[in-house]
Structures are given as C-alpha cells and as structure tokens.
Symmetry: C2
C-alpha cells in the first residue's frame, strides 16, 4: 500500500506529540495498518520559531492551502484549536475528499452536526476521540463497546483543571483562590481560567458524550452549567465529614426517551469510583441498563495522551482507507431529542443554610420541605461549633428540581433563613 | 438489508442474556446496523427443560448441525463453554463461512491462534470481547483505542470470584476458608473453585490480553501462576497496616522486546486505582508509553454484562457484513515473542518471616539481602506484639526474581529463620 500522507494544522503541544508518535512508532504503525504514515505538511504561524522537535523545513508552511488543497495529502489532522478558522479549514478539506482527525471539542460541540453531514456527503471519515478526556478512548467505548446497550447515565470528570483545584482544596483544606493561583503558576490553569472553572469546557465535552451516548443531537445550549468558583473550603470540609468529595461532574441522564445534561459541582459519595479520581486525571462513569456500572480512567489532557488518541484515530482512518470504507462507519444520531423538564430531573441534594439561632427554626425549615413533598435523608444542626452562625445541613432524598426551586425560593423569603450558603447535587 | 440470522450454541446464563438484549433492543440494533438481527436457532441440551425466558419451540434444537450447517445462519454465537466440543463446532462453522462471536476465554487462550488462522483463511470474523472482563470493552480498547501507543504494562483484576474473596477478607478480617464457603453459597464461587482460586481462569484471560497488548503470540504456558488459597488473614492485616491491599493481579510487562506474564496475589498500594476495586468487579490497568496510566472498570461477569459485550460484537460483525469487510479487521500478532528471564523480571517484594527471637538475627537477615544486591525499602520488626513468634516484615526496592530466589533459598537453610511465611510482589 502506498504511504499515507498526513497534513497537520497546528504544531503546538498536541501537534508536537502527534509528530513524535508517528515518527517514533513507524514500524508498529506499518505493521498494524499495512501502510507507512508520513507527516507531509504542517501549518504553523511562524516557520522560523524555535521548536523542541526537529521537523524538516520544507514540511513546515505558513499557508493553510498547502495542506488543505494539497493533492498528496490524504488525512488532515486539526490541532490548531479555535472555532471559526478551524471549521473553515476542515470544511474546505472535506470538500477536497480529505479525511479529518481532530481534537477540537469546541468545534465538535458547536458545529459537529454540520461537519459530520459534510463528511457523510463526501464519503470522508471525521474522527475526534481526542476531543473528550484526552487519552481515554471513551468515544470508541460509547459508540462500539456499548453499541448493544441502552446507556442511561454518563457522569464525567472531564476537566482536569477543575479536578486539580478541587482535589487540592480537599487534600490541603486550601481556599479556591489560592489553589487557582497555584494551578496557574504550574500551567494547569489558563491566565483567564473562565472556560475551565465556570464549566464551559466540560459542557462542550458533555455535549459530545450526550450525543453519542443517547443517539440524539444534543446542543451545547441544552447543557445547564455551573462552575466551581463558588465552592468554599466549608463546603468541602462539611462534605468530607458527611462522606462526600466535591467534584465537578458532567451528568447526562436518560429516563425513557427524555434526557438531561448538566455540569455542576456535585457531592460524590466517597465510596463511588469517581470520588477517588484526583488531580488532572479524567474519568467517565457509564451506566448501561444491561452492563451496569463501568468507569474509564486516564489522563485528560497533555501532549502525549492526547496525541495517542489522535494517532489511534489516524490508524482507524488508514485501516478504512485500506478497506475502502471511509465515511461509512459514522454513527448518526437516530433518536429525537426530548429534554427533561425540571419536574423530571431528580437527585439528592445537599443544602447548607445559615439560620437564626432560636427555638423552632428547624421545624419551620423542615416544614417547607414537607410542603413541597421533598423528603429528607438527614439533617445536621450546628456542624461547626466554632462558627458564630447557626448552620444547618440538609441532605434530601431524591427530589425533582421544580420542587427544590420552590423550597429554595421560599427560604429566600423567610426571616429565619439568613443565607442559603450552598446547594449541591448529591451522587453515589 | 436482509435480516441477519444468528445461531446460538448454548442457552445458559449468558445465552439467555444475549436473547434478552437482541429481543429487547430490536429497534436500536436496527438503527445502528441497518439490519434486523434475529435469533434463528439455539442449541440446547434438553429442549424440554423449563427456562426463565420464552423462546419459540422451533428455535430450540438439540442437534448442533442445525446451527453449524444451517445455510440461513450468518453468525454463530458460542456460549456453551468448554473446550473440545466448542472448538470443533467453531471450526466447522468457520468452514461453512459463518462468523463467530464467543465468550470462551478457555478456548481462545488455548486455541486462539488456530481459530483465528482458520477465520482469516475463510474471510470470517471471530470476535471475543466477552472472554475477558465481561462487560468492560477492554479488547477493543487495547486493539483500537491504544493502537498508536506502545503498551508496557497491563495489570488486571480479571477474576471476580477471587476479588470477592479477597475484598471480604480485607473488609471483615475473615479467613480464606470461611469466605470461600460463603462465596460458594452465594453462587460467586463454584463447588470446585480450583480454576478461580488457583489463578488458572485469570491466567487464560492474561494470555489473551498479553497477546493483544504486546502483538505477540502468548501461550498459556508462558504465564506463571499462583492463586490465593495461601493468602492468610495475617498477610492482609499486615498489608493494610503498611498501606497495601492484597489483590490477585494478572501482570503483563514489556521492556524493550522482552515480556513476562504472571498471575499472583500482590500487595497493591492503597493509593493505586486497582486497590479500591472491590467485590466481583473487574478492572484492567493499562500503562502506555505515550498515554501513561489508564484504568477500565466494570462488571467482570454475569448474564447481562457479558451479553452486552457479545451483542456489541454481533453489531460489529453486522456492520462488517454491511460493508463487506468481514475477516479483514483481524489484528494478527506481528512481533516475535521473547520471554524475560528471572534476571529481567523485577519488582518490589513483601516478605514475612518468622525468626528466632534473639540478638543479631536482623543483621543476619539483612546481610543476605545485601549479599545478593537486593536493597530494602523498609524493615518492620515484631509487627504484632500478641504473636508468640518473632516476626519480621521486609519490603524490598525493585529486585529481580533471580536474586530474590537466591535470598529465599538462603533463608531456608538458616537456623534463625523458622519460616518464610509469605512472599508477595508489591505494586503501586
């Protein structure tokens, strides 16, 4: 078989990893695919920039069309990031019959449908294993490994930055702002950390997992998102005392045909496998009606883990080229999307209230829950004797969101409730 | 596309699960493959036997040739177990151009090469995801998800029975014999538990994982095997005190081109993700040069989890049928197998000795390690003051097996060493 020529859009961290693996594993890739894989062109912003990898000068180009229009190139690997330009290049490359491998979660979450439709039209592969949970082959697992099952729940720790921050806060009893600063110094968080800490990055990944897991076209706007910037030391301390770790979870659920997708800091029972996923690691927990509980754990980002997933996709494209079946293994959503209402979304909840320190308060509080038919699993008064405020922690049984909103709304209007300090979903 | 007709060999627990999923998920399977999947014939031992699933009488047969020779049947699912008869039926079915899905680890570990060669000759698929770690799609993960990487270590908790027993011993401080009896009553262990508790079942699974992970034809006889029947309450108690859980691990390792594969009870550091895999759950930890640490967790057995993997394989065969590419996605080993010698296999070790209670013993013991260039991480004297014996626990740094054998051999000849009570590999 003739050598397969690959064009890279971008030579940042991940692009460098791709070059390293393709060059370092030449012989294995040849044995596995029957074809030599060659990086023929790489789009960079500045050819003269010093790099920590040696690439022959005639492979580098500053002109995207040297990749996109290059008749020698079979597969385009998009690792430049961003949305508009990456999308334009990808669509142009597809128009020219080139297959695509990408790590671009933002693009796939926002414009995946359009890109995959174009690929189907052109008989091209578009693979994006690296877009979710870096080195964990979770997309393959959902699409092929669990093709026979009906997945009803996906819970993911899919953002390493926030998991690093929450793990540190938990392990060291440190405050959010201090740990964020440290994460920025270590390069685990961006100087503008909004996308990570406010949950937007995780929401994009959950859009992709929800679409694949539930066979319905989930949009980013379907995901309700809450980040970790309001998580306090107290929340984590109280959580631990009650047997929970605070994790930023993406949660996609399905009952019958109705789905809900969210990203939110969640109290996860310490016995749950997600509770012990720490640092920059990612993990995706998948519950299927037939298989039951499964979990997939690994590095969520980084040069080599992400590159592993990209090159595994490259291998898949090359195998398809050999068999002449590109563009025919796509898995188009075939179910109508029906979103759950607040009445249909249920979970346990953890609520921390500051209340007036006088007799009868607890009765008033629990009366509100009873009124909205929210039953309680446990109530803890004055969890911290050093705190001058009278505090109450309540853990509910499964309650629907509509009822919970009414309860919280009523608390806001009550004199004896000084503050609703925290509300968390509870899992595990 | 015409309906795809499937013949089942066997209708035990797993076969029943396959029928349940194929019937319960008709519409999803059709949407995913473009073809209806129909269970056309099922080989059973006794047609008149009462079953907890309703199957039309003309689907059942007591004659294997009704499945194997049936021109209507495209795919044979082998869930009868055993070796000789299952092998015969499988080869006969392949001879007639039928694709195979099997959960038979024994058969694949012992005769996988022969069966896969026949399949390649006949242009047929043979898929066996369910043969290792039930509901966890670990074979796909190794073969496709990590196709780009160089896997250097696979550690698996791949036998649910032994993990249940060890978890119970750890959680309840119970003795091996008592927990085994309980496991037998609960149906987690066979009345003759040898295959599970002596590590033979795990060894078969590691043969399959080693072959796929290292691209070399591993034989069952390459696996050194030690079971859990000698694990004592004391070992578990001392392990916990030092921060370890005892787990029966299958360990496949590669350095350069040399590999070693073993199954043995191992002291696993509690911080390692495998240490918290409890009960009948399975988990496979995979270390790749590029990806780093990953772990895949889920149910290792049971009707529905195992059936999930079988039907996912069925879906893969049907997709291949649609594309006309059966028998072409096999992944034949392409590396020569080179086994490590004892000098090349290294690990930390945990050693529990009963020694004479007099001055100078520790010096004599540590002298033996020094003589064979085994350096020590820690030495703990008299870990249990209630024990009338003088005990010493030693944890070594990485030491090769040849040196360790010499050390232990020398201990056997020493008067001051009353007994070498336990020796464990240490991981994590």
């Amino acid at each position: 078989m003739k050598p397969i020529r690959v064009g890279l859009l971008g030579l940042g961290t991940v692009g460098t990893g791709v070059v390293r693996i393709v060059e370092g594993h030449q012989q294995d890739l040849l044995s596995q695919t029957g074809a030599a894989i060659e990086i023929a062109k790489i789009l960079v912003q500045d050819k003269s920039k010093a790099r920590n990898i040696s690439v022959s000068a005639d492979v580098l180009t500053e002109n995207p069309w040297d990749v996109i229009e290059n008749p020698e190139i079979d597969i385009v690997v998009e690792v430049m990031g961003g949305i508009d330009l990456a999308k334009k290049y990808m669509l142009e490359a597809l128009d020219r019959g080139k297959h695509i491998v990408t790590a671009n979660k933002d693009l796939m979450a926002l414009h995946g449908q359009e890109i995959l439709a174009k690929a189907a039209e052109k008989g091209c592969d578009v693979f994006y294993e690296a877009s979710v949970a870096g080195g964990i082959p979770i997309i393959r697992t959902l699409v092929e490994g669990f093709s026979s099952d009906r997945i009803t729940k996906i819970m993911g720790i899919v953002n390493g930055t926030t998991n690093y921050i929450l793990s540190k806060m938990s392990q060291e009893g440190a405050a959010y702002d201090d740990v964020l600063k440290e994460a920025q110094q270590l390069g685990y968080a961006e100087s503008d950390p909004t996308s990570d800490v406010e949950g937007f990055d995780a929401a994009r990944k959950m859009t992709i997992l929800g679409t694949l897991g539930f066979h319905a076209n989930v949009s980013l706007s379907d995901v309700t998102v809450k980040g970790i910037s309001q998580v306090t030391k107290e929340d984590i301390t109280y959580g631990k005392r009650l047997g929970y770790e605070v994790k930023l979870l993406g949660i996609a659920e399905r009952n019958d045909e109705h789905i809900s997708i969210s990203v939110q800091p969640t109290m996860v029972k310490t016995s749950h496998p997600l509770a012990s996923v720490n640092g920059v690691y990612n993990a995706v927990y998948v519950y299927g009606e037939a298989v039951g509980e499964t979990m997939f754990y690994g590095p969520g980002a980084g040069e080599m883990p992400t590159a592993t997933s990209i090159v595994a996709d490259l291998v898949a494209v090359v195998r398809n080229l050999k068999l002449g079946i590109n563009g025919q293994r796509g898995f188009a959503p075939y179910k109508e999307k029906k979103l759950k209402t607040d009445e249909q979304i249920a979970s346990k909840n953890f609520i921390l209230l500051h209340v007036a320190d006088k007799a009868g308060v607890l009765a008033q509080i629990t009366q509100v829950f009873a009124q909205h038919e929210v039953s309680l699993e446990s109530v803890l008064q004055h969890p911290n004797s050093l705190n001058p405020n009278a505090e109450i922690i309540i853990i509910t049984h499964d309650a629907n969101q509509a009822s919970m909103k009414k309860v919280l709304h009523q608390f806001e209007a009550m004199d004896v409730v000084h503050a609703i300090k925290s509300v968390y979903r509870v899992e595990g």
